[in-house]
Symmetry: C2
């Protein structure tokens, strides 16, 4: 059946690129849709240029496909619902996307399903937020449109009200977490579920992006099993088909709180291309094609470092230090094919394997100080 | 430097496809040249349609490139030599290709470099071969143009003279080998050399193609080291830049004889995509881009089964049994994107991992009897 299937991906960024790379093994017939004619997927699949939030664009892109998937959740869900009604398979399902895309609905969903998450209130404006200022620090998340660290603000003191979103969103208790964790879950059309080993994320303080991660996470077996169990229960609660990246906090009380989820391949699973028997990209295809899921076992401890555009540089990409970092063993760079850099833009990542966490950390530091993206 | 390099690959078949897949990680700018407009590389890189043996076609394809490589050795070497003289980097070097492409020259090269190989004589016609018939069984190999089992004939009895090539070639002693082995070597522009673990090949008796292989090979440490050493010495003798797949026989005397070499990614290295820290494709790019070579260590014992078109079927591809084989753990199919099948055509391969050779063999048998390529 895979030999005659017409497949569309909404989004043509780096996650789409890696999905397509994996799909080549199965010789899938793929088209990508993206607003940027120079996006990473432009030359490796069929490609349509257009707005992911425009009903007609998404509908017209999807109507001759057998199967649609996404690599970004900020897409026109109404068009996907119409396509689904007309018989196109859409995984993840539009109804799931609708809940996840709206942080208010997402949080309410967790509460209704008894999934542990930080306490929150719904707010609709800056004025409403101001009425909670005596409870700062709080986290203000915009309901829709946030992505990659945009759409989240820490409100620590009254002056921070300035930065608060004057739009519907949530105010969340700030959890002074010990660790931030992620578990990628895959759930297939038939309901088979498999998780990847838990990863531990370290954030870049300025850019508010994952700076590097380690996998498997350094956790007691009890906490690790709990993280795995909660991640699985979230995927089951959504009845999602495809990947679900579940980001969690390990609180000061050693309890786990679901922070947010992404219904697609995720930054926290890049390393699976080298560090696990199958990658998150392989697994996504298996899940949405209703094929048996593959072994997610870890091969070796891994780290993943984001390659961000150096501060102060903007323009055509110039990669520095590539040879240096490749002199270390088990260091695998991935460049996303973005032709121009700007400060903190995600230009790629590096996956690192090592026998020990200490070894990983030393290679991470080496990569961070040696591989620099400047402009010409 | 990699960000502005224009790279060309001569050949657009499955090996080119897997080279391009690996190149996407480094965001290399690649164009492929192939005579078949429906070849596997047609949609994943820039693509030119043309004859690989035509001087002008190859020259015109290469003249605006910075770096050229191959995925098939049957190409116009004169054009490559001219391009090399004009400053285009061509790896593997045309002079090496010229020796390897001609089995007479290749065998003479081994003799001149004291590389162990079966004894042989040069023959120019069927008539000349007939003069050796009292020494049958012998192997008759055509000097140029042979590929994938074509261009080799076993001459066991006088009647087999019929099948002998009426063209320049060699007559080789038939080694009643215990095992057929292969070692893939990479040698970089700077002369760094790394080998992949030795693999053991099993041939399909009718199709004369590798049917499946195991890696690492089951050999005593002494013999394994010897195979590795000989393979390395062949790459050093050629001073090749890029990959060299060295196929060897383990003779009845436990001595190793070089059978032939391929100056490119090879069937016997497909499994490295899953079974080793880096793949042969990754390593080829590192070698020809003059980057440090990566760790070739084996992760788990692996097998690779070719997926051949079923006998009796010709036409549009129909894949049967995919779901069945994916129910087994660590079974990874690769389909090459050929739109039509014919008996014994190489349509793809399956890489299998397991902790034991017995486990591998049982999965190989399962895959062979369950995954079938028929036509619609």
């Amino acid at each position: 059946m895979i030999e005659n299937l017409k497949i569309g991906i909404l989004g043509g960024g780096q996650l789409g690129k890696m999905l397509i790379q994996a799909s080549l093994d199965l010789d899938l017939d793929i088209a990508a849709l993206d607003p940027d004619p120079m996006c990473p997927c432009r030359q490796i699949s069929k490609f349509s240029n257009g707005d992911l939030n425009d009903f007609d664009t998404v509908y017209n892109f999807g109507k001759d496909k057998d199967l649609l998937t996404i690599e970004i959740e900020n897409v026109n869900i109404e068009a996907l619902k119409k396509l689904e009604n007309e018989g196109v398979k859409v995984y993840p399902q539009p109804a799931v996307l609708a809940v996840i895309k709206d942080k208010i609905q997402q949080k309410k969903f967790y509460k209704s399903k008894n999934i542990p998450t930080a306490d929150f209130e719904v707010v609709n404006s800056k004025f409403e937020i101001s009425r909670h200022q005596q409870r700062f620090p709080l986290v203000n998340k915009i309901a829709t449109g946030g992505y990659d660290g945009r759409g989240v603000q820490m409100l620590r003191k009254v002056e921070d009200l300035e930065k608060a979103f004057d739009a519907p969103g949530i105010l969340e208790e700030l959890i002074s977490f010990k660790k931030e964790l992620a578990v990628i879950v895959a759930r297939s059309v038939s309901g088979e579920i498999k998780t990847f080993p838990t990863v531990e994320m370290v954030f870049h303080p300025e850019a508010n992006l994952v700076e590097y991660l380690f996998a498997p996470a350094e956790l007691s077996e009890i906490i690790d099993l709990e993280a795995q169990k909660i991640a699985k229960s979230v995927a089951e609660a959504f009845e999602i088909v495809g990947l679900l990246a579940v980001e969690m906090f390990l609180g000061p009380d050693d309890k786990i709180y679901v922070n947010e989820v992404a219904p697609r391949p995720h930054n926290s699973g890049h390393h699976t291309l080298r560090a696990n028997h199958c990658s998150q990209y392989d697994q996504h295809w298996r899940a949405i094609l209703d094929l048996p899921l593959e072994n997610t076992e870890s091969i070796k401890p891994a780290a993943m470092v984001n390659i961000l555009g150096a501060d102060g540089y903007e323009g055509a990409v110039k990669i520095e230090g590539l040879k240096n970092i490749l002199e270390k063993t088990d260091v695998f760079p991935y460049f996303y094919g973005k032709k121009t850099t700007r400060p903190f833009r995600k230009m790629g990542h590096v996956t690192i394997l090592d026998n020990s966490v200490a070894g990983l950390k030393s290679k991470v530091e080496y990569v961070k100080s040696n591989l620099i993206i400047r402009s010409n």
